[in-house]
């Protein structure tokens, strides 16, 4: 069998393209949910941490460190195979979503927190001295500056973790890789993997480009 027949078999590709497309839609939904919930909860934790309540901060740091330390695949497997024993049996989709969101939350919290602490104390003092409260200073002065600082590391991390949606194939989630793998097994031909690769490129190159655009858009005049 020639290389072209093996990896670019038009008949096989045509037959399994609808499966890969369905997988692509699953990946898009999953990725969008992971990004929104992961970044949202990460920012919420960083803001909670800025209140400086010590026992709460210990808890936040413990959770964040745990999810930064654990490989995402382990978390997915634990949730999918472990939680049913505790009375909740999440679907493959929910297991993957929750796992990746937790990991993104942990990294995002650390990045947001680093951004918040990088803002000089003088900014807080200047704002507070005009009568702005803690929350107002955070919302109007500190957070806007911190968010700009965090955009480059945040886009990198978000892309890296969102690509982890492929791990869902391990718990039989028919996202791009899952759909492609089944197609490979059924057709005895790896061409669906080529399609899957193309699907990832189609999905993530715009995401990477968007990240770059956001970085330039929010760099303020210095």
């Amino acid at each position: 069998m020639s290389f072209l027949d093996t990896f670019f078999n038009a008949a096989v590709m045509a037959r399994y393209a609808p499966d890969i497309l369905r997988g692509l839609l699953v990946t898009i939904r999953l990725a969008a949910l992971v990004v929104v919930t992961g970044l949202g909860t990460g920012l919420a934790l960083a803001l909670l941490r800025s209140l400086g309540i010590r026992p709460l901060n210990w808890a936040i740091v413990f959770v964040v460190d745990a999810f930064r330390a654990l490989p995402p695949l382990i978390i997915i497997v634990l949730i999918y195979f472990g939680l049913p024993g505790a009375g909740w049996a999440p679907s493959p989709f929910v297991s993957t979503w929750v796992s990746l969101a937790l990991v993104l939350m942990a990294f995002a919290e650390e990045i947001f927190w680093a951004g918040l602490t990088a803002i000089p104390a003088g900014q807080w003092e200047a704002a507070r001295s005009t009568g702005l409260g803690f929350g107002q200073t955070l919302a109007h002065v500190v957070l806007p500056q911190a968010l700009r600082l965090t955009i480059p590391p945040l886009t990198n991390r978000t892309i890296a973790i969102t690509k982890g949606t492929a791990l869902g194939s391990v718990v039989a989630l028919s996202e791009i890789l899952g759909a492609a793998s089944s197609a490979v097994s059924n057709s005895y031909n790896p061409s669906p993997l080529t399609l899957g690769t193309a699907a990832y490129l189609v999905l993530f190159i715009p995401v990477v480009a968007f990240g770059r655009w956001v970085e330039t858009r929010f760099a303020w005049k210095r």
Binding site: P120, G122, Q123, E125, A126, A127, R128, S129, T130, G131, L132, G133, Q136, H140, V141, P144, Q145, R148, W220, K221, R222
Partner: protein
Amino acid sequence: MIQARAIHKHFGALHVLRGVDLAVAERELVFVIGPSGSGKSTLLRCLNRLEEPSSGSIVIDGIDLLDKRTDINRVRQRIGMVFQSFNLYPHMTALGNVTLAVRKVGGKSRAEADAIGLAALERVGLADRADHHPAQLSGGQQQRVAIARAVALEPRVMLFDEPTSALDPELVGGVLKVMRELRESGMTMVVVSHEMGFARSAADRVIFMADGAIVEQGTPEAVFGAPVEARTRAFIGQIQRHA
């Protein structure tokens, strides 16, 4: 206008203010000098509770600053503060810097706040820079915007913490001119600075601090011309040699 009594401040084991009494009359300009580490900046920062005094009492414009029931954010509108390092918000224009608290604390609409902010920028001679970001302004211009940010809230008192120390020499004049105009408009001011020329021409009273206490105070002529205490003499001799 300001009555501060027996102010003590400890930073851990460090006793930074050792029972400072300071009374400032309405429309008075009090100038505070002293060696680095003498507690003058800490004293100033206690006057709007950026630092919490360890003990003592502070009453400003009839309001007990250290009373737990006092809404510190309300009081701080009445006490303008200008910092050595300007501390402008880099993500906002000059006008945005000046109007933020006018809107969020003063409760003014954006249109009202913009009018107030432009008037404040006009006062410091920078109305034409309203839409510039801080990074596009010189240090002197940034400090004048910072003064406008405080003035826009119509404070009863203005506190200046070494407002010209971070400026190149040729930019100091513009800032001092704005401060002089503020003083002529009747603003009560407490100024921590080493600008002796400004003190001589604009201050009603000069206070010399050392080791967390007021060592000597009097008119500029008295303190600079004929200091009584040996430490004051030594300090003034030093800064005049370098001036």
